[in-house]
Symmetry: C2
Subunit: 235 residues, 2 copies
């Protein structure tokens, strides 16, 4: 009965915040849900919880949903426990996971989502739905007691996945090289989720959505492409 919508990025080039995934979010949440609980901990560009919540709230109101942030209430665990749906926004994955640990929300969110409450993540919010945050692109700007994350989804996601640019003169590792290094030391397969792509989980069925496809990285085999509409199984 698990329901997840894991989005690579909140803003696609040339469009506004959540525009490219608007239809998918409405389809995913449906009409019965009235209020979405927001987790603003990832603080993109260091903005405050209030600023981030204002941005998300305005956008969700246009989609037809009220939004309340965990930082606006005294008892954030209770808010999670009573939530109709949960949305974790992007930003810095380390800061986000630190916030989830510091506020004791890992287990309450896991329990709630595992019992059927819909979960939406964008970017870092998709990363923390994975077993660990080891495939984030973010700088480790906060010490963490563990890289273990919500473990709602069985594979690792690399959000904002970027294909190698053959014309680049930059000698830093490509994203592909980084993910292959991950697989030298870890066994969980990685979904390189391009900007514009998203993953929808309904019960045990995992489907790639969006317009840009994804690249699958599995230990000891050549990476391969999957397309929108494809089911993801047995990685």
């Amino acid at each position: 009965m698990k329901r997840l919508l894991l989005i690579s990025n909140s803003t696609l080039f040339g469009s506004g915040y959540l525009d490219h995934c608007e239809d998918e979010i409405i389809d995913f949440l449906g009409k019965k849900i009235k209020t979405v609980v927001f987790i603003p901990y990832a603080r993109p560009s260091g903005i405050s919880h209030d600023e981030y919540t204002k941005k998300a709230r305005e956008r969700f109101l246009k989609l037809g949903y009220k939004l309340i942030s965990v930082h606006e209430v005294e008892n954030s665990k209770k808010l999670i426990e009573e939530s109709e749906a949960i949305f974790i926004g992007g930003g810095n994955t380390f800061v986000l996971l630190d916030g989830l640990y510091a506020n004791g929300l890992i287990e309450p969110i896991r329990k709630k989502v595992n019992s059927g409450t819909p979960y939406i993540g964008t970017s870092a919010g998709s990363n923390v739905a994975c077993p660990t945050i080891m495939t984030t692109n973010d700088m480790p700007i906060k010490e963490l007691k563990s890289f273990k994350a919500l473990n709602l989804f069985p594979y690792q996601i690399n959000p904002h996945y970027l294909d190698p640019d053959p014309s680049s003169t930059h000698q830093g590792e490509t994203r592909e090289t980084r993910i292959k290094e991950y697989l030298c030391f870890n066994n969980t397969s990685v979904i390189g989720l391009r900007e514009g792509a998203m993953i929808r989980v309904e019960d045990d069925q995992i489907t790639l959505k969006g317009s840009t496809g994804a690249k699958i990285f599995k230990k000891n085999i050549e990476p391969f492409e999957i397309s929108s509409g494809d089911k993801i199984t047995d990685l």
Copy 2:
């Protein structure tokens, strides 16, 4: 009496391994040193300690120095304690720091370099010379007990620093945004060290070297440029 050569990248586009910093390495090590102790833990692209050491050894032989790796001896602490010079190569910063902790080399290297033994780092090897590895670009593919690093250098380095590309359609955070996020949560200033740039420390004098300059990020002030030959003070 501390002596450091902290290089952004080991290979510059269009040239071979360590070519662009060859003259600087020879000038830094001088003619009295015969053997350099190598630390291969960062394993770029997941290559083995043996493969990485072979690559570094061949290159250092051409520069006129023998090279011995810490993984080739039974007592790596003793090798560090008796070293004439230390070189830590690039790769994955988390894997590197994990190796330094696992082999108990943090304190031996600190002690040795603080007493005057020359230290060369490239990329991840420059990052671990900083107070922490919080300004790495690498994926956190290994759990670490701490992000604290060798603390041989007083500021944070971001190796392979990359200026924002105004023509990019990619919506992932620019390097500048990532470093500014670091400064929202931390106080140590950051040197964005472009590929082709390096830092030389002689006693307490810090000088920018190389051909490409660096960008300085300091809390609460606008980032600014420094050029080759500039002294770095009071960040």
